[in-house]
Amino acid sequence: MTTYILRRLLVMIPVLFTISVILFTMIQFAPGDAFTGQLDPNVDARYYEEMRQRFGLDKSPVEQYFLWAGNFVKGELGISFRHKIPVSEMISGRIGNTFFLAVCALILTYVLAIPLGIYSAQHPYGKVDYTLTGAAFVGLSMPSFFAGILLIYLFAFKVRWFPFSGTVTAGAGYEGIALWLDKLHHVVLPALTLAIINIASYMRYTRASVLEAKQQDYVRTAFAKGVPAPLVLRRHVLRNALLPLVTLFGLDLGLLFSGAVITETIFSWPGLGQLLFEAVVNRDYPILMATTMLISVCVLVGNLVADILYGVVDPRIRYD
C-alpha cells in the first residue's frame, strides 16, 4: 500500500512537469507581457524596463522556466505582476475561503442528494421519484453559471433571503458565533451553485445503486429470515449501495476547486477561483501559473485519494 502511494506520487511529478512546461510555453507565445497592457505615457519607459528586469522577463524563455521551476519547488511562487506582492501571500489569503465554500458544497451534496436518492429508490416510479429524476436531469443540464444567476435572481432579489456577494456583511463587525452565522448566510447560494451538478449526479447514483442492491440475493435472504424492513435497508441495502459513494469524494476534490472559478466569479467570493479569473483578465502570469498548478495538484491528489478509498471500501481490490 505504502509503495503504491509512493509510486503514484512519483508518477505525478512528470505530469506536473509537463503541465508546467505547456503552460509556460503558452505564455511565451502571448503577445506582449503584463506591462505592455498598462503603458502609461506619464511613466518613464525605463520604469517598465526595470520592472521587466525585476521579474526576469528579459531572460531567455528556458532560463525563465528553470528560474520559475526552481523557485516553485522551493515553494516560492513568484510575485504578482499587478499587485506586486508575493503570490503565496495572495493564495494563502484566499485558500481558506475556497476551502470553506467547497466543504459547504460537499455537505449540501451529501445532506440533500443521498436521502432524496434513497427515497426515490424506495418508492420507484412514483410521483416523487419522477419529479426528483426530472429535477436531476435539469440540474445536470444546467450550466453552473446559469444556475448561479438564477439563484441570485430568485433568492437575493425576489425574496431577499440571502446576500448575493461577498463572504461577510461589509462593515457589520460581527464576532464569534454571529460572524459564523453571517458567513453561513453568505455561503448558502454559492455553495448551492457549486453543488447543483453534484447533487443531481449523486442523487441519480444513489437511486440506481440502492435499486440494484435491493435486488440482491442477500437482501431477499434477510427478508426471508424475518429481519425487519428498516434494518434490512440500513444493514444490508445501504451499507452495500452507499460505500462506492466514498470514492466519488476523491474525484470531487479537484472538481470543486476548479469548478469554483465560475461560482466564485459570479458571487464575488474572494477565493482561488476568483483570483485565477482576475489573473486571466489581467494577464498576471505568476498568479496564473501558481493557481493552475495548485489546482492540478488538487486534481491529482483527489484522484489518488479516490483510488485509495476504492481499495479501503472494497478489499477485493489489491494494490501492488
Partner: protein, 310 residues
C-alpha cells in the same frame, strides 16, 4: 486486394455484435437493432423533436424575427417586451428576440463543430494508441493524463488570456484541442478489446493494411460508444461555450450567442430588473442540453444491449 477477399472481410463485421436479446430478429444489422431500441425510448425521441425544433427556430431565424440582431436602436434601449420587441431590447437597443434566434445558430454550430473536431482528434489518437500499443500508446495516454488533470475550462481560460482575440473558429479549434482526452480514452479502450477479436486477427492474417483494418473493421464495431460520447460531448460543448461567453472569453461581440446574451446578466441592474433579457437564452441552453442528453442516454441504452432498462 481482390474483390473476393473483400466479401470475406465484410462478413464478420455484422456477426459478433449480435447480442442474445436480438434473437429471432436475424437479418437486421446491429445498427438497425440499436435504432429500433432507440425509437422505443420516449425520452430520447422527445429529445430529438426538441432539438429539431430548436434547430428549426435558429435556421429559420430570418423568417421569424422581424429585426436585425446586429442593428442598434439608440432611441429604444432597454425596452420592455412588447408587441414589436417580443423580448425587449438590450442596452444598445438590439432586439433580444432576434438575438435569441440568431444566437441559437452560433451556439448550435459551435456545439456541432467542436464535437466533430474533438471526435476526429480524440478518435484518431485513441485508435492509434489502442491499435499500436507500446510507446505510442504510452505517449498518447500520458497526454490524456495531462489534459484530464487540467479542467477544460481552466485550460481554455489560460488560452484565452494568451490569445489576443478569439474568433468563432479559433474558439472551436481551441476547445477541440483541449477536450479530446476523454474520447481518446474511450476509443482506445474499445480498440484494445477489438484488437484481439477473430475477425481482426483474420484480416491481419490475410494481409490487410493497418489503415484498412482500423477503418473497415475496427471503427465500425467501436461506433456505438463513439456516437454516444459524441452526442454527450455536443451538450457539454454548448454548455462550455455559454460559460466562456458569459465570462467574456467566448465568441466576441457583437455576434449573438446564448452565452453572450447571458453576459449581460453580469450587470446587477440587468440581472435584477430585466429577466426577459437573460432568462430566455438560459432556458434555451438548458432545453437544448437536456434534449441532447436525453438523446445521448437513449443512444447508450440502444447500443448497450446489456442494460436492461425498459
Amino acid at each position: 486486394m481482390s474483390s473476393s477477399a473483400e466479401v470475406i472481410l465484410n462478413q464478420p463485421e455484422q456477426g459478433p455484435d449480435l447480442k442474445p436479446d436480438s434473437k429471432g430478429k436475424k437479418g437486421k444489422s446491429p445498427l438497425q437493432l440499436a435504432l429500433r431500441r432507440f425509437v422505443r425510448n420516449r425520452m430520447a425521441v422527445a429529445g430529438i423533436f426538441i432539438l429539431l425544433a430548436v434547430t428549426l427556430l435558429s435556421v429559420c431565424a430570418p423568417l421569424i424575427a422581424k429585426h436585425n440582431p446586429y442593428t442598434s436602436d439608440l432611441y429604444n434601449t432597454d425596452a420592455r417586451p412588447d408587441g414589436n420587441h417580443w423580448l425587449g431590447t438590450d442596452d444598445t437597443g438590439r432586439d433580444a428576440f432576434s438575438r435569441l434566434l440568431y444566437g441559437g445558430r452560433i451556439s448550435l454550430l459551435i456545439g456541432l463543430m467542436t464535437m466533430m473536431f474533438t471526435v476526429l482528434i480524440g478518435g484518431t489518437l485513441g485508435a492509434i494508441a489502442g491499435y499500436y500499443g507500446k510507446w505510442v500508446d504510452m505517449i498518447i495516454m500520458r497526454a490524456t493524463d495531462v489534459l484530464l488533470t487540467l479542467p477544460t475550462l481552466l485550460m481554455f481560460l489560460f488560452l484565452a488570456s494568451i490569445l489576443e482575440k478569439t474568433s468563432l473558429w479559433v474558439l472551436i479549434i481551441a476547445l477541440a484541442l483541449t477536450s479530446w482526452a476523454t474520447t481518446a480514452r474511450i476509443v482506445r479502450g474499445q480498440f484494445l478489446s477489438l484488437r484481439e477479436r477473430e475477425y481482426v486477427l483474420s484480416a491481419r492474417a490475410i494481409g490487410c493494411s493497418d489503415f484498412r483494418i482500423i477503418f473497415r473493421h475496427m471503427i465500425p464495431n467501436a461506433l456505438g460508444p463513439i456516437i454516444v460520447n459524441a452526442t454527450l460531448l455536443m451538450a457539454v460543448m454548448i454548455s462550455v461555450e455559454s460559460a466562456l461567453s458569459f465570462l467574456g472569453f467566448g465568441v466576441p461581440e457583437p455576434t449573438p450567442t446564448w452565452g453572450n446574451m447571458l453576459n449581460g446578466a453580469r450587470n446587477i441592474r440587468v440581472l435584477s430588473q430585466q429577466p426577459w433579457l437573460w432568462l430566455p437564452p438560459g432556458m434555451m441552453i438548458v432545453i437544448t442540453v437536456l434534449a441532447i442528453n436525453f438523446i445521448g442516454d437513449g443512444l447508450r441504452d440502444a447500443f448497450d444491449t446489456r442494460s436492461s432498462r425498459r
